[in-house]
Symmetry: C2
Subunit: 596 residues, 2 copies
Amino acid sequence: MRWSQTFIPTLKEVPEGAEIPSHVLMLRAGLISQVMAGAYTYLPLGLRALRKAEQIVREEMDRAGAVELLMPALTPMSLWQRTGRDRDFGPVLIHFQLQRGNRKVHLALGPTHEEVITDLVARFISSYRQLPITFYQIQTKFRNEERPRFGVLRTSEFLMKDAYSFGTSLEQLNESYQRMYEAYCRIFDRCGLEYLAVEAESGPIGGEASHEFMVPAQHGEDVLVKCDRCSYAANTERAARRKTDQPPPTEDLQPLELVDTPGASTIEQVSRFLGCEPQRLIKTLIYLADGKPVAVLIRGDHEANENKIRRFLGASRLELATPEVIEQVTKAPVGFAGPVGLEGVPLYADWDVALVRNAVVGANQNERHYRGANLGRDFLVPEDHFGDLRMVVEGDPCPRCESGTLRTSHAIEVGHVFKLGTKYSQALGARFTDRDEQLREIIMGCYGIGVNRILAALIETSHDKDGIIWPLALAPFEVVVLPLNVQDEQVRQVAWKLHDELEAQGVEVLLDDRDVRAGVKFKDADLIGFPLRVTVGQRALKQGQLELKWRWSSQAISVPVDQAAEQIPQMLQQARSVPFRQLLQEQKQDTSQTSG
Amino acid sequence: MRWSQTFIPTLKEVPEGAEIPSHVLMLRAGLISQVMAGAYTYLPLGLRALRKAEQIVREEMDRAGAVELLMPALTPMSLWQRTGRDRDFGPVLIHFQLQRGNRKVHLALGPTHEEVITDLVARFISSYRQLPITFYQIQTKFRNEERPRFGVLRTSEFLMKDAYSFGTSLEQLNESYQRMYEAYCRIFDRCGLEYLAVEAESGPIGGEASHEFMVPAQHGEDVLVKCDRCSYAANTERAARRKTDQPPPTEDLQPLELVDTPGASTIEQVSRFLGCEPQRLIKTLIYLADGKPVAVLIRGDHEANENKIRRFLGASRLELATPEVIEQVTKAPVGFAGPVGLEGVPLYADWDVALVRNAVVGANQNERHYRGANLGRDFLVPEDHFGDLRMVVEGDPCPRCESGTLRTSHAIEVGHVFKLGTKYSQALGARFTDRDEQLREIIMGCYGIGVNRILAALIETSHDKDGIIWPLALAPFEVVVLPLNVQDEQVRQVAWKLHDELEAQGVEVLLDDRDVRAGVKFKDADLIGFPLRVTVGQRALKQGQLELKWRWSSQAISVPVDQAAEQIPQMLQQARSVPFRQLLQEQKQDTSQTSG
C-alpha cells in the first residue's frame, strides 16, 4: 500500500482534551478521529490495528472450540425486564420507544448479550446431549457512559468479544471457564500485552466467581491489588487481607463523653471539629441485608466493602438503608449513628475496629458524638461478628502468603471471565433434560474482551516520546519503506520495487511515497510506530545498502539492496517468534549497557 | 469443522410468519434465528455466508482504490440538523436524548453516514492535492422500519457497505462513480447474482444521478421497468416512456354537462357513481412547485410521478398543496378540482390527457363534476405544457429504442450508486482550495450495498423445493462430507480422514458426524445447500468409491476413495471458474434434455 493511496492525517500538535498517551498518540498518529465526546471514527491505520486484534481474538476463540454467531444490537426491552437488568444497568442501558405504524415498540441497545443468547438457547437446546457449548460474537456494544473520556478506553460504543458457555454441571462450567481463561492468556500474549489475571467481584452482572484481565498502566482507571511476595492479585472490590496479630493499643481508657458537634456529620467534618485523626473515628453504617437492617462498624479512615459485608452476612442482597430506616433504627438523623446504646439491630465490625481505643462515634442524637468510646466497655460486638469488611489499602498483609504485603497499582481492564451460574437460565427458562429425564437449569459462564481497549492498553504500555511502539501482531503495517527523496530516480526505483516485492510475499508494507522532507517522514514513521523501517537513501544506495531499523531498537542495520526483499521477511519471521515484551526488554538492557 | 462442534438447528416445519422463500429457508436451514420482529441472530452458518459476502465487497472496494475506515453508529443529532435530514428521514431516523451527568446529549443511530464522513473530510481535507478520494466502511446501520418483514430483507438493523467519493470536479465524480459502478458489477457477479443496473431517482438522499442494482425476483418489494427489446431499465420512480403517435379518439364530442356527484370525490367513487371507466376521468392535482401553485392533469387510471413533474417544471421542490391552498385555488373543497374554468394557476398535463374525449373532470364546485369535458373546447393546455408526467405502466413504449415495450417485474434492490453533488459539502463546509487558490465545495458521490440482502437475493433466486442452492463464493461450507453410518468403522475412518485432508488443503468442509439416519443428513444437506456433497457409504466403499454430487446437478459422480482428497479441490477450482448462473443454466438444460 502506498501512503498516497490511503489516508493518514498525522497531527503535529497534541489535540485539545487528550489527557493520556494512548488518546494523544491515537489521534496524532491518525489512527482515530473524534466525532463527538466518546465517539471516534477509526481511520485506515486504526482500523487495520483493530481488525488485527479482532482476528487474534477470533482465532483463539475458534481454537478454544467456541462457536461464532452474531446477535442484533437492537433488543426487545422485555428481555431485560425479565431478568431485572433494566433496573441493574440504570442509565447505562440505552433504550427508547419507536413508533411502528400505530404501535410502539420498546427497544434497548445491547450493552452485553446474556439475555439474547440465553433466550436463543432456551429455544434451541433442550437436552444434555447438546451440551456443553460456548457461543461467542464480536460485535458493537452500547453503554451510556456518563463521562466518556480517555479516548477509546471509555466510550459509549465499542467493539466487544462476548462469549457465553452453557453446561449441565459445575464441572462443565469449570472446564469452559478454564478453556476461556487459557484462550485469554494466549490472546493477550499474542497482542504483546503485559497483563495479570486478578480475582474479581462479579458486580451487577451477577454470578459466583470471576477474574479480570488487567494491564498495569499508569493512567488506567482501575486499581489492582497485588502481593509483593506471592502471586496473589485481585481488583480492589475483591481484594482480601489477612488478619494481623497486632495487639490492641495500650493507651489508657478515657471516660465516655457526650460532645456537641454542630454541623459536623461526615468523618472529615467530625475529625476537624474535634481535632482528631480519622483513624480515631468509627463509622456506623446501617445496611439492609436481604431487607433487614444491620449496623456495620468501619474505622474512620477506611472504606466499607459491600461485597465483603454481603458475603460475610451470607446475604444475597445488600444496600445502604434509606434515611427513613436509619432514623428509625438510630432514633437520630443520618450522620449520627453510633454503636453505644444502639439496640434492636445486629452489630458487625471490621477487624481494625478492635484496634481503636477511645474512639469517636456517633451518639444516635442529632449533632452529637461520643468521645472515649471503647469496645467491651461502651459497646459490644460478638467475637464472630468481626471480619474483613473493608476495602484493602496499600500495606495490608497478603491474604494468601504469610509474609507478603499488598501493593496497589493502576491498570486497564481488557478482559473479564465470569462463572454466572443459573441467574439467566432461570429467568429466561433455559433448561435441559438430563440423563435421568430430569429438567434442570443450564449452568452458564460469560467471558468478555474489549477489543478497542487492547489497542489503548498496548499503546499506554508501549510508547516513547516519539510515538507508538507496535508489536508485529497489531501493527497497522509491519514495515514502512521510506524513500528519502522521491524525486531521485534511483531511490524511487529501489523503494517502489522493494515495496512491490515485499507485498508480493505477503508482508504488510507501506511505502511512504510522499514528496515531503525526510524529517517529516521519519517523525511520522516513529509516531505511528511501524515495527520495521526501511530507509532508502542516495548515500547508502551508492554503497549498495539499505538501512533497516526496528522501532524498539536504537541501532540501525545495513542490508545489501539485492538481499533486502529476501532478508526482511526472514527478519520479521524471527521477530514474530520472540515475545514482544522480551524484545522491548532486551532493547532496554542494550540501551543501558551502551550508555553504561 | 464437524457438525457436532458447531450449531446448526435446522427446522422441519415452515416457521410461522415466514412468507417468502429466503425467509423460510434461512430459518429452516439454521442460518438465522428471530429475536423479535425484524431482528435476527446470525447463527454460525448464516454468519459464515454473511462474512463471505462482506469479504467479497471489501476486496472489490479495495481493488477500486476505496479507503476503508469505520465510523461510529452513534452520531450527534446536530449533524443531521445541519443538513436537514432529521426532517427528511422522519420516523425512520432513530434518535434519543441521553442523560450524562447533569446534561443531555441528543444522539441518532446512523441510517447512513454522509454527514459523519463529510464532517471528517471538512476537517482533514483542504486542498485539491488530497483529492479525489473514496472512503468506505462495512458497518451496522439502523433504520426504524415501520413494518419489518421478509426476513433479512427489511430489518431495522443491517450490515451496509457505504462508500463516499470526494472530488474537485464533475469529471472526478464521474470517474469515481464509474469505478464504483464497475466494482458493484464485479461484486454481484462474484456473489452469483443475476442483476440489472437500472436508472433511479435519488430520493430523499438527494442528488443528481443514480443507478440501483436490482435482482429480479418474484417476491422482491421493488418494481423495475425493462424494455423487451433494448437494454433500457429503470425503477418505477425513474422510468420514462416515449410519446406515442396514437391519434386522438374519433368519438363524437358531447356537450359539457354539470352533474351532481354527492359523496364521490375519489376516482373510484366518481367512476362508480357515473358508471364510466377510470380512463374516462382526468384528475386535477394541485401542487406547490417551489412554493407556487400549479395544476397538473393526469388520466384517471394513471398515477402522477412527482419527480417527473418537478423536473418538467424545472422546480427544485414539489409537494402536494395543502387543503387550504387547494380550496383557495379551486374555490371548492378537496376532491373536486378540475381544469374547466380554473383560473390564475398554470395548467400542465400528461401526454395521455390529450387522448381522452368527453372526459369527466372536477367542476371546482362541492360535490359536482363535469361530464363531456374536452380539451381545446372546454379547457386549454398550452402545447409546451404537455409532458411525460405519470408513472409508466406495463406496455408503455420504451423511451430509448423505437420499437420496444416496457415490462415491469418485481426485484430486490441490493445496491445503489448516487451522484450527490455538493448537498452535503455545502451544508457541512467541506471545501477545498483549487489550483487557483479558489475555495470551492467538494463534489460528492455515495454508494451503498446491503450485505444481508445479497444473501436473501441469492436465496430468492437460487433454491428448489429441497432448499438453498449456494454458489461456492457464498456457501457457508463448500463441501459437506456425509458418512451414511458413523457406527461403521470403515465409513467413519474414510470420512474423518477425507475431512481432515480437505481441511488441510484449505477447503471449507463440514463433516456431518451426527449419529442420525442417512435420510435426515441428506435432507439437511440439501436444505442448507452445500455446493458439493461427498457421500461415504459402505456399499460404494466396497468398490473403493465415494459418491460426489453438486447441489445444482441431479447426477452423482463416483470417485475412487484414494483420489478424492486430490480431485475434490480440483473440481472446486474448476467450478469456481464458471459463473454460477451458467452452472445453474447448464443444469437446467441437462435436466430438460434428460427428461425430453
